[in-house]
């Protein structure tokens, strides 16, 4: 990649910033290229040292979003700015993206889709008991059929209890994890907003 491509990419990635601010950043990076050229470094060498345009822009945007929190006046503006900064910081490191955000999404979808199933199973408990009784009445009260129905109902009840407990534990752990993640990021934001 050449200097102009790098600057263009950075400019495109920073398009959510004010034009003046963006121009200033590009000027600084361009100066860095010029200084490198004076020391006979090639564009490729300089870009390798600089790191990716993506990394630079994500850091700058996250900083800008943190700054916006203190400028927000209304409560909803503050919440929006906070969430926006939160996700900008989450995306800041690839570590967060791969090891935090993706598992978070997967576990969230499991919990969101799993609870209706668990609730349906709990509701089905009395249904299972009634069905068992109806079946018993129709078939007649033979010992073996009664035992079979009894075991079926017991098995169903224990399955529902196990799944409910398991899911409750999973959900509690999930909320704990999310709270921790939030706190960590909020601390990060606070430190930044406090200014060092």
């Amino acid at each position: 990649m050449r200097k102009q491509d790098f600057l263009k990419e950075l400019e495109a990635k920073l398009n959510c910033l004010l034009a003046e601010e963006r121009k200033e950043i590009l000027r600084d990076i361009e100066e860095y290229f010029d200084e490198g050229h004076r020391r006979n470094q090639s564009d490729e060498e300089i870009i390798k040292k600089l790191g990716s345009a993506k990394a630079i822009s994500e850091t700058i945007i996250a900083e800008a979003k943190v700054k916006r929190i203190s400028h927000a006046t209304t409560f909803s503006q503050k919440i929006f700015a906070l969430l926006s900064a939160f996700f900008a910081i989450l995306l800041l490191t690839p570590f967060n993206l791969i090891f935090v955000l993706i598992p978070l999404l997967i576990i969230t979808s499991i919990i969101v889709s799993g609870w209706p199933v668990v609730l349906a199973m709990i509701v089905s408990l009395p249904v299972a008991v009634i069905l068992g009784m109806i079946f018993a009445i129709n078939v007649g009260f033979h010992l073996f059929t009664l035992l079979a129905i009894l075991f079926f109902v017991i098995a169903w009840i224990s399955a529902v209890i196990t799944i409910t407990i398991g899911f409750t534990c999973l959900t509690l752990a999930y909320f704990k994890g999310v709270a921790k993640l939030f706190l960590w990021n909020i601390n990060f934001i606070k430190n930044r907003a406090r200014g060092g």
Binding site: R27, Y32, E35, R38, G51, A53, I56, I60, G196
Partner: protein, 104 residues
Amino acid sequence: MNTQFNKGILEMCVLALLAKRDCYGFELVDTISNHVDISEGTIYPLLRRLTQENYVETYLQESPSGPPRKYYHMTPHGKVFTENLIKEWNQFHKKINQLIKEEV
């Protein structure tokens, strides 16, 4: 290494250098990367923040060859901040070293 940790250290390195004398961006990056392994692009967002927080200010100066350079100059406010930061760092460093020695 932990990115949070690195960021704090990088900030202190930049401030410590600027407390001694005015530097332009490339010079600053070059000096630090001689000692610590950093992704050099990350120093620019940091310099912007330090400027916005009024710890440093910038001015342009003509260079012997090529376009003018942007120099970073530490403000009195930045000097006080840096002194405190270095004091804290030294205390922290001492305590950790004590802990390491005691644990052996």
